[in-house]
Amino acid sequence: MDEFVRAIEAVLFASSEPLSPDEIALHVCDGDVAAGLCSLAERYVGHGIELVERGGRWHFQTAPDLAHLLRRTREEPRRLSRAATECLAIIAYHEPATRAEIEAIRGVQISKGTLDVLMEAGWVRTAGRRESPGRPLLYATTAAFLTHFGLSSRRDLPGIDDLRAAGLLDPLDETALTLELESDRDED
């Protein structure tokens, strides 16, 4: 095994966090880290562990088909409420999204704590403000979101292309929505 690839393997194994090629380069000697990563990922095909890329950062993880062997020793991560799950999906598929947009799609106000839960989990972050009246806060997903849900990038979000093609991710026509949401308007 190539010394350079060995070094990348060791660094990735030792790291407690997914690493970008630049971060890896800080630890290994000069070389084409991207090529080394590809060669390493190939080597692990068919193993019980695999090398994956999530949002530009790489890490080893166990093969998904072995989940049943491992799950019993692990506690289920906190179950998200339906509201929080929808909220996360809306942010991920529309990002960046304002709170008003999330509420418009769901047709109901976001109760306190819903966004907090997502931010606390490290999946959602604030992403500046929209330069529109009221300068509402924008929400977007994080690198940890991609890592947790096993997405290489947002393009990997299930069905995102179909949804976009069907116009279901188009910017919302707020005037059409407010018609039915008079009572929701007090918050934003």
Binding site: F13, S16, F60, T85, G107, V108, F149, L157, G159
Partner: protein
């Protein structure tokens, strides 16, 4: 949206629905569930039938419970309006048309449905920490920043030279210079004064043919000597105007 659970939710029920608002995430959620019960693609649903379903559902709830969240009633009112528009003969002046409104409602239901579906698919993915696992005991990486101190031999030697130069004991050697001391000048002026008969320029008292540095010193010392002798009352000193020659003569008696 959650009212107190007073148990009426289980009191009555349709086929798939429990008569309560507690379980719904807002009127759109209720509408979506009702639409789903039509068992057709959301793009094919009958908006009119949906409106009927919604109003009927809300009516049932209302008979059981007076306090119904405002959102649901607002939606009910809007749907009742939509229904009447859809049933009445077409009025071209209404904009947007009831068909357009129905379409928008349908699109909203599709949007919410899509996001609900997307959320479910997200949650069903192989999630890190649930289905796939990172290394249990990573050694961890550390990047230690170390300072590589730099200095050259020249800087070292220059530094020592600097220290030496700075701390060498300071002593001053004044080179020998040709000067006429004040004492010499007083002696000289007193002596020469005896030989002078009348007012004489100060310059006449200076030694002739000396180098210029000594001449300057002699001039300065002789001037001070003249002042001193005048103070002692041994000579008189006059000057006609500024920068005119200084003249002196022995004082009478």
């Amino acid at each position: 949206m959650n009212g107190d659970d007073d148990g009426f939710g289980a009191a009555a029920g349709g086929e798939a629905l429990t008569l309560s608002l507690d379980g719904w995430e807002g009127p759109l959620d209720l509408l979506l569930t009702l639409a789903r019960s039509q068992k057709v693609d959301l793009r094919e649903i009958s908006i009119l039938a949906l409106v009927e379903q919604y109003l009927a559902y809300l009516d049932d709830v209302r008979t059981l419970r007076l306090e119904i969240a405002a959102d649901y009633l607002v939606m009910a009112a809007w749907l009742a309006y939509l229904k009447s528009c859809l049933l009445l003969p077409k009025d071209e002046t209404i904009d947007p048309s009831p068909e357009e409104l129905a379409l928008r409602l349908q699109l909203r239901l599709q949007r919410l449905d899509a996001m609900r579906e997307a959320g479910a698919r997200l949650m069903g993915r192989d999630r890190l920490g649930r289905d796939v696992f990172a290394r249990g005991a990573p050694e961890g990486l550390r990047l230690v920043r170390d300072t590589a101190w730099q200095a050259t031999a020249f800087e070292l030697f220059a530094a020592f030279g600097r220290v030496r130069a700075r701390t060498q004991p300071a002593f001053h050697v004044v080179a020998h210079r040709a000067v006429m001391t004040l004492d010499d000048a007083i002696d000289r002026v007193s002596r020469l004064l005896g030989t002078a008969l009348d007012w004489t320029d100060l310059e006449a008292f200076l030694p002739a043919g000396t180098d210029s540095a000594y001449a300057k010193s002699a001039l300065a010392s002789s001037f001070v000597a003249a002042l001193e002798l005048a103070r002692q009352g041994r000579l008189e000193l006059v000057q006609d105007e500024p920068f005119a020659p200084l003249r002196l003569r022995q004082r009478a008696n």
